[in-house]
Subunit: 240 residues, 2 copies
DNA sequence: GTCTATAGGAGGATAGAC
DNA sequence: GTCTATCCTCCTATAGAC
């Protein structure tokens, strides 16, 4: 999955065209972007092994060989899909956490959790539709044995930033407890953003997974309450 | 994945041998069970599409053709893997919830959540090692678009029983809120039982995903606190 | 019930013309 | 940068002997 071997010496991706300047009307949707979009959609639906390079190429409306020209391999395409949106997402969450800390009179668990989850919910609600597929893909990888390395590479710095803010809100709590609580938060959040509509069927339509404003509100209350209850119980029990 | 077409008229699986009675020493580990064990392990590691029938057969030490004899197809094998442990798990959770309601002076959120999650944690800790792989497999399917139908078929009755008990503990709360909260619980729980060790790496070893007693304690406090905070916030806000 | 053998096709990836 | 043509491995599944 994740390619470790840097076998091919010259990577052709993204090299500048050798044309003197840019042609006047150069407004076509380029092949790499089309491939990334198609791959994002298909991988999110059926997973890495459930999609063939031919299917991706067909959905993108380009030739199969272009996958190997631009991304070296199927795995390279997969990694590129993940990387493309990881950067803006991490940047948005970092900024959100910093803005919160800079502007808050007192740092609270609710505030920290909100600053962490809001960028994702806002991207999913108001960003381009690819974000929904991206989160569905990340949610799948997240519950996978081989996904750990990928998630770590792109997102763990961001989580440490959240933990630091939470530590300010709960100065007496051991970090260990914050990591556990974050792990629970991550599971809830990823299921909520996975695009599966299990809760719709389970509740016979009372809940709608697509109603992300409902998710935002409840996930915030639930996770903040969970954090506080967990660290409180820990303190009372005299562990640590 | 899930086979809808009942194409082959006669299903050969589990038919009685035509031998007059049972032979004296008939203690070999049968092929179907060996195949289910191998498939459980491999599907849990790499998912349905990431595993080939040849790999399953090789791991089981039997011939590939036996997959098709006993389970009709690769999908049939997959379904059989899921079904095998679904029945005892659902029964154990049902019994756990009933025992709790029967024995409790007052029904609490903590008690209901504990009665729901304890069977899984106990199976994973003290049951045969296949349970760990099984939960890893279910965790993967759970975050998948196509997994909804499977999870629903095997587990949703069980969840309704939990919701009913929670409704006793929180008589004033709309069921809608309980379904939302359960969905968050499910995400946390499945990540905790997925066998991924992301929290180990994230916390630099402070937390160990394999320490299920640590998970049990914290998941209980976290989820119970989350439930209460969520329904309290809902009540205060005057929605409903 | 279990094996051998094979059908029949789809998979990832590449060479080389344009 | 893009397409045509192709390599060759590996797949699911079945037929039929034992």
């Amino acid at each position: 999955m994740t390619q470790i071997d840097p076998k091919s010496p010259a990577k052709p991706r993204q090299r500048k065209s050798s044309r003197p300047t840019s042609s006047p009307a150069d407004i076509r949707p380029k092949a790499p972007a089309r491939l990334l979009d198609a791959a994002e959609t298909l991988f999110a639906q059926r997973g890495f092994h459930g999609v063939t390079t031919r299917q991706v190429a067909a959905a993108a409306g380009v030739d199969v060989a272009l996958i190997y020209y631009h991304f070296e391999s199927k795995s390279g395409l997969f990694d590129a899909v993940l990387e493309r949106r990881a950067r803006p997402l991490v940047a948005a969450r970092r900024e959100s956490l910093r803005d919160y800390v800079a502007g808050a009179r007192v740092v609270t668990v609710e505030g920290a959790v909100a600053a962490f989850i809001n960028p994702m919910i806002d991207f999913s609600l108001h960003g381009d539709p690819g974000w929904k597929r991206y989160f569905a893909l990340v949610a799948q990888i997240d519950n996978t044995p081989w996904g750990g390395e990928i998630i770590h590479r792109y997102f763990d710095d961001n989580v440490q930033e959240l933990i630091d803010v939470l530590q300010c809100a709960l100065p007496g709590s051991p970090k260990r407890e914050l990591y556990w609580a974050y792990n629970f938060l991550a599971g809830s959040m990823m299921l909520a953003l996975s695009g599966t509509e299990r809760v719709d069927r389970l509740s016979a339509g009372l809940c709608r997974a697509k109603d992300l404003e409902a998710v935002r509100l409840r996930l915030l209350n639930y996770c903040a309450g969970g954090f506080l209850a967990m660290v409180t119980a820990e303190r009372l029990s005299g562990r640590a």
